[in-house]
Assembly symmetry: C2
Amino acid sequence: MRWIKLTVAYDGTAYCGWQYQPACPSVQGAVEDALGRITGEPIRTIASGRTDAGVHALGQVVSFSTGSRLSAEVFQRALNAELPHDVAVVAAEEAPAGFHATHDARRKRYRYVIHDGPVRDVFRVRYAWHVYQRLDAERMDRAAKTLVGTHDFRSFETSGSPRANTVRTLFEIEVRRGRGGEGDLVVTEIEADGFLYNMARAIVGTLVEVGRGARPEPWVAGVLAANERSAAGPTAPPQGLFLVKVEY
Amino acid sequence: MRWIKLTVAYDGTAYCGWQYQPACPSVQGAVEDALGRITGEPIRTIASGRTDAGVHALGQVVSFSTGSRLSAEVFQRALNAELPHDVAVVAAEEAPAGFHATHDARRKRYRYVIHDGPVRDVFRVRYAWHVYQRLDAERMDRAAKTLVGTHDFRSFETSGSPRANTVRTLFEIEVRRGRGGEGDLVVTEIEADGFLYNMARAIVGTLVEVGRGARPEPWVAGVLAANERSAAGPTAPPQGLFLVKVEY
């Protein structure tokens, strides 16, 4: 057996998310169908983590093992020919025996895009959260910085899906307004050793409360310290979220 | 009666084009349905021109007359609340009595986006033509410049829809490669006093032949001089085309 590591980009709009679900199109299902047609084997893939319905990926990492002798490069080309147009393999390589995209992940980076222009941008409705009120990105950035470090992030975990361990290390978070033609965008980048369920979206929803002036900056540190989900702001909608990259 | 001028943006992916068609969703139908719900009147709109299925607009201009007393600003807000998410009114204003978006148009500007990266970009498949071969944008630009001026453009008109007069004035054309994160994009901007059917897409399809080295630069001037469609390159697909603005 060989292990292959794929880096996969997808527009999540048309999917129920990464994970296979019966009666609902998933990105995993699309990738596994394509692998099955290419290899003739029933192949089960493993991703760095699930992404929810409507969430996008620039660099989701997917691993699988196969008896096929096709080179990684040929896998990439054959997959791109077989996959639907909203899914693409941007890189493929041989991985060490036993490589596991979920368990071996060390750091993940997410991006969240908010559009706060007065009129919705028809070319961004699938790829950004449209907030009608102008946001103060600098305030959001200062408040966000209080989340950096190793903390119990359970305040930012959607209830109903508790993890045994809710401590994560947030390495970096930055909120900045776009420049030039992107002056109506507020982009948040978050990098951590792992994310609880809906954590990135709950953090962004909380920062928006500060950005629109509904809450003071120090409130965010208080939400973190409260250790309960009801303390935080609403969960930002899925279409603004992008899984940017995963490090191993 | 009053005349209102709307500037409308749309993602054309889901539509058969601007013009109303039975049994096929059109942008015109969406706008007229919304206007009907807002005013209670059956309103017929006029656009600067048709756009084809899959073609987008940043600034299509649409005019209509109405007995309603709603201000242009209220029309804009009410329309944006009623319209589907892939259509938006970006500006609305009172127009002089008798204003006609088709007949009064003086200049139109189109943009055509090509993606020539090695792997398809899932976030651009709806908004660009993916050409697998790397293009020489500078060669395309030099060849394009031979089209500037007042000429008979019938070589770039799709047959089956002849106009009585095929002479148009092309004020400006520029082909340039994107910078920074857009280095895999080749963008063509064309401004003219009017466009024949499929003219912008036929010009781009012709320039791509030069950009990929299949034809020499002077071939484009020869295509123009030939005065027949068969001389030109293929018609570029619709999803890369954007109606940028219309001047009156």
